[in-house]
């Protein structure tokens, strides 16, 4: 769930520290442009690819289902087959169609809640971080209250007592109750950015407050905002599925949670109908994994310490593969086919014989 991502994001706040001019290690990535660079991490690329797949499925899903997901048939409770890839329910409904059709509801709620929560998080987090003073303390206290109150239960109570349901309402409720984590991270980041000289320099140049927030502060927060958006999306998807699973009314006929709800309530377990709940659960896990992977990419982008350094496969002085460790710098034997270590780096190195003359 969001825990891992959130903790990293909270702590990686420290990484946006002033550049150390004495740093001797050259940052090879500095020369490249920053945008979308996080996709260069294989983790993030895989995650983004999967995410794209689910997004497309959410858009076209209902049009490509082989069957009407609600339509009953005579193939009752059948194991996966060529006709029914994921098998059928006790009413003969096609589970594959249900899962594919249900993608839209899941993704929609995730996006909507993510958007609402991110907007609130930016509004509250950045404001309280930038302004300071009493208003800032108040907003911070509000954030902490929402952080501590178990949001899932609140969501369950609110959605189950609302007279009208639907994805939009559920998405909004989730969004309005789950912004606090993002707001806290953004506040911390804003506080640390605000002390940076470039913000003060922008003020000293004569930039207006709103321009500083919009053009100096926010671009530097984009990674954190996206990371928060994705974190909320994971959370929202999980919450919606849980709501559907415990039977909170008002959700669309088909999403991964309702599939699980029917599986659970119709004793699919006892009947050994594993196909009824395995695909939907796997879909949840894969979607969650893909979102987490994208977030790892962002984390590594924000916090360079998390990146993997160096290449694999080099041999150390003891003949074993080199592992980069703090405190024990590896001693590497240069690759034999190179005549001298590093001649490639210096354009033309004169050898000692040249000098001796």
């Amino acid at each position: 769930m969001a825990t891992a991502a959130s903790n990293t994001a909270l702590t990686s706040g420290g990484s946006v520290t002033p550049h150390d001019p004495e740093a001797t290690a050259p940052d090879s990535t500095r020369s490249r442009r920053r945008h979308l660079r996080f996709l260069s991490s294989p983790k993030a690329a895989v995650g983004a690819g999967l995410l794209l797949f689910f997004t497309i499925l959410a858009i076209v899903g209902p049009y490509i289902t082989p069957y009407d997901p609600s339509a009953r048939s005579n193939d009752l409770l059948q194991a996966p087959s060529w006709h029914h890839w994921f098998g059928t329910t006790h009413l003969g409904q096609d589970i594959f169609s249900q899962v594919v059709d249900g993608t839209r509801s899941v993704m929609y709620v995730g996006f909507l809640a993510g958007l609402v929560a991110s907007a609130l998080a930016v509004l509250i987090g950045v404001t309280s971080g930038y302004l300071g003073g009493f208003a800032s303390d108040l907003l911070s206290a509000l954030t902490n209250v929402f952080l501590v109150i178990p949001a899932l239960l609140l969501i369950i109570i609110i959605t189950s007592s609302l007279p009208t349901g639907g994805e939009t309402v559920v998405g909004l409720v989730i969004g309005f109750t789950s912004w606090a984590w993002g707001a806290r991270v953004l506040r911390a980041q804003t506080l640390s950015l605000r002390r940076r000289d470039f913000i003060e320099a922008a003020r000293a140049t004569g930039e207006s407050t709103w321009r500083i927030i919009a053009f100096e502060l926010l671009p530097n927060l984009s990674a954190v905002i996206i990371s928060g958006f994705i974190g909320t999306m994971i959370y929202a998807v999980m919450s919606e599925i849980i709501l559907a699973f415990i039977g909170v009314p008002g959700l669309a006929d088909w999403n991964w949670g309702t599939v699980l709800y029917w599986a659970q309530s119709q004793q699919a377990l006892a009947q050994g109908a594993w196909w009824w709940f395995v695909p939907a659960g796997l879909a949840i896990a894969i979607l969650g994994t893909s979102l987490s992977l994208v977030n790892f990419g962002i984390d590594e982008f924000v916090n360079p310490r998390l990146r993997n350094n160096g290449e694999r496969g080099a041999k150390g002085a003891d003949g074993r593969p080199v592992r980069m460790r703090v405190g024990f710098t590896p001693v590497v034997i240069p690759i034999p086919d190179e005549p001298e270590a590093g001649t490639g780096v210096i354009g033309s190195t004169s050898t000692s014989e040249d000098v001796a003359q």
Partner: protein, 342 residues
């Protein structure tokens, strides 16, 4: 500072050390083929600007360089008093652990971050003693910790303090005291006073010199502040672009710098006394390790560069034009085509 302790017996010999950042195609060479000898009881200054590789050298020779640093060649020979010389780079992990701090200790630049924030000063002073002298009793370790604090001029009732309760100067003193805990032969100081104010800096350096005279350890002193080194070290080595470009006794380097870079560095510090004159510093920027100039790395910034500088790398050697004098006054070497080796 004073040259009265300048023994000629080597205690630490660095031979052709090469250090890279990263492996494979992306790697850059930060320290290239550096040889340097630290003699028993002397203060050897290592100067250069950022990126010159001076800190990389210090961390490399102790194998403390963080990833992605790798050592790609060379030897670091440590001469134990009354024992066989050992190559630090060939030590096993366990051997290295045993060697560290007992033989060479390090004082880092940021005293602020060098102490573990969650443990008391006493616990951090004592754990290093416990690691190397496991038989020592706890009360003996505590007594030693007290002694160490006294040594660096801190009241022993500070033992229970956490690092955040100490000022920057006190933290750096604690680090120096810790560095001396096992009476090592070599103390490496990486910009130990850069973060401190000048008054504090002078006090700490004074204290260090005093301790050095009493305890007889050698110091490898790394800083970008050459004017400080001239005052406080016996010999000075100047690094540029990962190589040592000049090495000489401090006074000699100050009076008669041979390498144009040393000359430029000395002129980069406006004097407090004497005539006020226009100084220029060194034009251009320090080199980028990823695209080092050919030949002498300094030639793009050198006012005296001529043809061979652009293509041929000058090697560190005793300058032919100064040899006569140097035989009497101590050794010096320089890597510059203006002063080719004999």
């Amino acid at each position: 500072m004073s040259s009265k302790v300048s023994g000629k017996e080597p205690v630490l010999e660095i031979q052709n050390l090469c250090v890279d950042y990263g492996l494979g195609k992306e790697s850059v060479q930060a320290v290239r083929d550096v040889s340097l000898t630290l003699h028993r009881g002397e203060v050897l200054g290592l100067a250069g600007e950022s990126g010159s590789g001076k800190s990389t050298l210090a961390y490399g020779l102790t194998r403390l360089l963080p990833p992605p640093g790798v050592i790609t060649g060379g030897k670091v020979i440590y001469h134990q008093p009354g024992g066989d010389p050992v190559d630090v780079l060939r030590l096993s992990d366990a051997g290295l652990r045993q060697f560290r701090w007992a033989e060479t200790s390090i004082v880092f630049q940021g005293a602020m971050n060098s102490l573990n924030p969650v443990h008391t000063v006493a616990s951090q002073l004592m754990d290093v003693i416990a690691a190397h002298e496991p038989k020592m009793s706890k009360s003996a370790r505590l007594a030693r910790a007290k002694e160490l604090l006294k040594l660096v001029g801190i009241s022993p009732d500070r033992l229970g303090s956490y690092p955040h309760q100490l000022s920057g100067g006190m933290r750096q003193r604690v680090m120096i005291g810790m560095a001396l805990a096992l009476e090592p032969q070599v103390v490496i100081m990486d910009e130990p006073t850069t973060a401190l104010d000048v008054v504090m800096q002078r006090q700490i350096l004074r204290q260090l010199v005093d301790l050095r005279e009493r305890l007889g350890f050698s110091v490898l002193f790394i800083t970008h502040d050459l004017s400080l080194l001239v005052e406080f070290s016996d010999r000075i080595a100047i690094m540029y672009g990962g190589r040592i470009v000049e090495e000489a006794p401090a006074a000699k380097l100050y009076k008669d710098p041979l390498h144009p870079y040393s000359h430029g560095l000395l002129n980069a510090f406006p004097p407090l006394r004497g005539e006020r004159r226009e100084l220029s510093g060194i034009p251009g920027s320090p080199p980028d390790l990823r695209s080092m100039p050919t030949g002498c790395a300094f030639h793009p910034r050198c006012p005296k560069a001529f043809d061979p500088c652009r293509t041929d790398l000058p090697l560190l050697a005793a300058p032919a034009d100064r040899t006569e004098e140097d035989r009497t006054g101590g050794e010096r070497t320089v890597a510059c085509w203006l002063h080719p080796g004999a």
